[in-house]
Amino acid sequence: MTAMSAAATGASLGRVPRRLIRDEFGVIAVLIVIVVGVGLFHPDFLRTGNLLSITHNTVYAGLMACGIVFPLAMREVDLSVGGMYAMCMVLGAVLIRDGLSTWLALLVILAVSAALGALNGVITTYMRLPSFIVTLATAMLLRGAGLALADGKQITDLPQNDSFFTFLGGNTAGVPNAVWISVVLVAALAVLFTRTRFGARVRAIGSNPEAAEFGGLPVNRTRIAALGLSGLMAGVAAVFSLAFFMAGDPTVGQGYELTAIASAIIGGTPLAGGRGSVVGAAAGCLILSVVASALAFFQVPINWTTFATGGVILIAVGADTLLRRIQGSRSADT
């Protein structure tokens, strides 16, 4: 009796971490292995400053990856995040340059990004087009709008001493504020994904769209919200980027959509939907960043950099599956 109840408590206590381990163990382990592995050869790599700056640089694509987990988990794709990021950065810079208060500009960016992301969902839903095509087209629309808004130029001349730039672009306790805030955002998104009604709906729709339709789940509304969220995270990334780089540049963010999607998939969100992991997506994005940075330490000749990056990524994700499989067979034994 006592043994049984103890076992039950153990199970319920152990549940959350066990699931965490099952889902994200592999990708986090691979991340650590790579960091430590590079550090063995190049101790400089492990310097806090270096690791922090890698983390800071990952914030932008990383937030997009975390946001994109939601559409992916419901079998939608969002290819517009890179364009959204560029457009929002330009929009913010233009607004601030033209005299809008910085924090108000921030709100405008967030509102616009969420609204345009939701618009992706509205078009996908009401024109009954695949989100792949819709967001591919809106990616061009957004990037084009950014270019037109900036008139093809970088926008500088921003009030660099404004609290917006000094706070969001600054550090606290040696760690960039963007990293602090992002950690909070990732945790919030993880909770949103796993613990809330909205998250459950997203996963349910991705898991069995037919059943979701049958059961009267608000499929359209959820799709719009998920794409809106993914747009919003691109907007958040743009805010951090604007605050740090203190300029609006319409050419940034090329190919970020693929990086974000790849990060999410590496982190355990299949294209086929139904499940996903926000924390995994963040870790997946960190893996990609670390791999790219590490190559600089190994002095790879320029003509071999691309090759090496591809190879290391393949090995890294291969190791992830391997770990998952070992882990899986171990948990199956018990």
Binding site: R197, G206, A211, G274, R275
Partner: protein, 502 residues
């Protein structure tokens, strides 16, 4: 309290419903029966807002209603368990039970509150699963029970069950019958669709019969009908004569042999032989290991010991090898393991022979393929043409397509796992006749079924499994009662097996 009348629904040229109606009263279990494709599912889908009718009305408590989806229906107290499983495989059991969110605060769902609410319902139906397990890992029967639990958790006034027991083992159906009766006793209206007429006679108070989309018997009291009269009403003619059990000469040439097969957690050191010409039943409670034998024969089990030999001495190591060696796997899980729902019937019916075995060459003639499918359609009396998309067939007809695609391949070994799930009485008898014919041709037939009647009707002998071992073989006194007893025997009574320490 629930009244549907004059319902009409056309799909293209096909009339699924043509002036059908039903009236279900509070406190009764009302059965709806009919042949495959008679329109039963269409009727209940219209009631619950899944399908919009071309004509007719649905009234709830004398007020006309028209729901846009099942959620709206649920808000008015109508819960439906559909024939096709509507679970979310990637989600946990709890999340499946509360697909719209369940109890919680600030949008955050509370697993604890969900567990608390679900526990009594799960216990009532005997569904013993980890509430945090992913549903993909559950067997079909548990998924079906799960869906019934989900409907019950909506606290409905009207409960619609569309073939709820098609995949359920006997014990679970009995528990469901108890639950249904109890709920009706509490004033619920239950609309119950089933092809098991015995079950209908046991639990329903009244019965409505549909034939070709029309109500031919409206709300007759159960006491005034018999199984035979129901069958007559369903088929519009006399019932087919019950096929007599025929004696067959055992050929013995081809055979499937298992020697000392162990599959971790499923089978322990099992040996058995099935010869050509005989129909061997495999029975057991859920998790007893009889299905693992089927998996082993199909090359899907992770064996740690022993060998499986197919006719010709082939050892199946993958499903592909097994199929190539002439094993057919006719599954009751037609949606998951059987069919390409978005493809036309002919592509499905010819898939194994053409694509799995590659027997029609690299450039198969489409005309010949369609002609073969047309033959199978006729042979199995499938309601649909070769170009019909399989998703548009009724459930029972889809099940027939699963058999059709294996018949087309003409294999030597038939592994049947609930092969007649959702098939109506008449068609089931015909399919049984086909299976007997296959055995008569000298093929090896292995049959597992949640329907004990089917085992008794078809099998020459039945091997009963418990905890991964064969505990008994029943041949001469093959009755449902004996089977049931053997399956449920407590460990102490197990003949010849010492209880293993755990």
């Amino acid at each position: 309290m629930l009244k549907a009348s004059g319902l009409v629904k056309h799909y293209g040229g096909v009339a699924a419903l043509d002036a059908a109606g039903i009236t279900v009263e509070r406190g009764e279990v009302h059965a709806l029966v009919g042949e495959n494709g008679a329109g039963k599912s269409t009727l209940v889908k219209i009631i619950s807002g899944v399908v919009r009718p071309d004509g007719g009305t649905v009234e709830l408590d004398d007020a006309p209603v028209a729901f846009a989806n099942t959620r709206q229906a649920a808000e008015q107290g109508i819960a439906i368990v559909s024939q096709e499983l509507m679970t979310y495989p990637d989600l946990t059991v709890l999340e499946n039970l509360f697909p719209l969110g369940g109890p919680g605060r600030f949008g955050l769902v509370s697993t604890r509150a969900m567990e608390r609410r679900a526990a009594p319902v799960l216990a009532g139906l005997g569904l013993e699963v980890d509430p945090h397990a992913r549903v993909a890992a559950l067997p079909l029967a548990d998924r079906q029970l799960l869906e019934i639990c989900r409907a019950l958790l909506q606290d409905p006034r009207v409960l619609i069950l569309d073939e709820p027991t098609s995949a359920l083992p006997r014990a679970a159906s009995d528990r469901l019958a108890e639950t249904t009766k109890r709920l009706a006793g509490r004033g619920l209206a239950v609309l119950y669709i089933s092809h098991f007429l015995g079950e209908v006679m046991r639990i329903a108070q009244r019965v409505t019969v549909l034939r070709d989309g029309r109500t031919v018997l409206a709300g007759e009291e159960i006491g005034k009908v018999s199984v035979d009269s129901l069958v007559t009403a369903m088929l519009g003619g006399s019932a087919p004569p019950a096929a007599a059990r025929r004696e067959r000469a055992l050929h013995g040439a081809a055979s499937v042999t298992l020697t000392g097969v162990s599959v971790p957690g499923r089978l322990r050191d099992v040996s058995l032989t099935a010869s050509g010409g005989e129909i061997v039943g495999l029975a057991g409670l859920q998790g007893a290991g009889h299905l693992a034998v089927l998996d082993a024969v199909c090359g899907r089990a992770r064996q740690t010991a022993g060998t499986v030999r197919l006719p010709g001495g082939v050892v199946p190591r993958s499903p592909r090898q097994a199929v190539a060696a002439g094993v057919a796997y006719v599954s009751g899980d037609r949606k998951g393991r059987g069919l390409m729902l978005d493809q036309p019937l002919w592509e499905n019916a010819t898939a194994v022979r053409r694509l799995g075995l590659g027997r029609d060459g690299p450039l198969p003639s489409r005309r010949r393929m369609v002609a073969r499918a047309a033959d199978l359609i006729e042979r199995l009396r499938i309601r649909g043409g070769p170009h019909t998309t399989v998703a548009r067939l009724s459930g029972g007809n889809q099940q027939k397509v699963v058999l059709a695609k294996w018949l087309d391949a003409d294999p030597a070994v038939f592994v049947l796992d609930d092969p007649t799930r959702g098939v109506d009485v008449g068609a089931r008898a015909e399919m049984h006749e086909i299976v007997r014919g296959l055995a008569g041709e000298g093929k090896v037939v292995l049959l597992a079924s949640t329907d004990l009647t089917e085992l008794v009707d078809l099998c020459d002998r039945v091997l009963v499994f418990r905890r991964g071992r064969v505990t008994e073989e029943i041949a001469a006194e093959l009755t449902e009662q004996n089977l049931s007893l053997a399956m449920n025997a407590s460990p102490g009574e197990e003949p010849g097996t010492a209880q293993e320490p755990r």
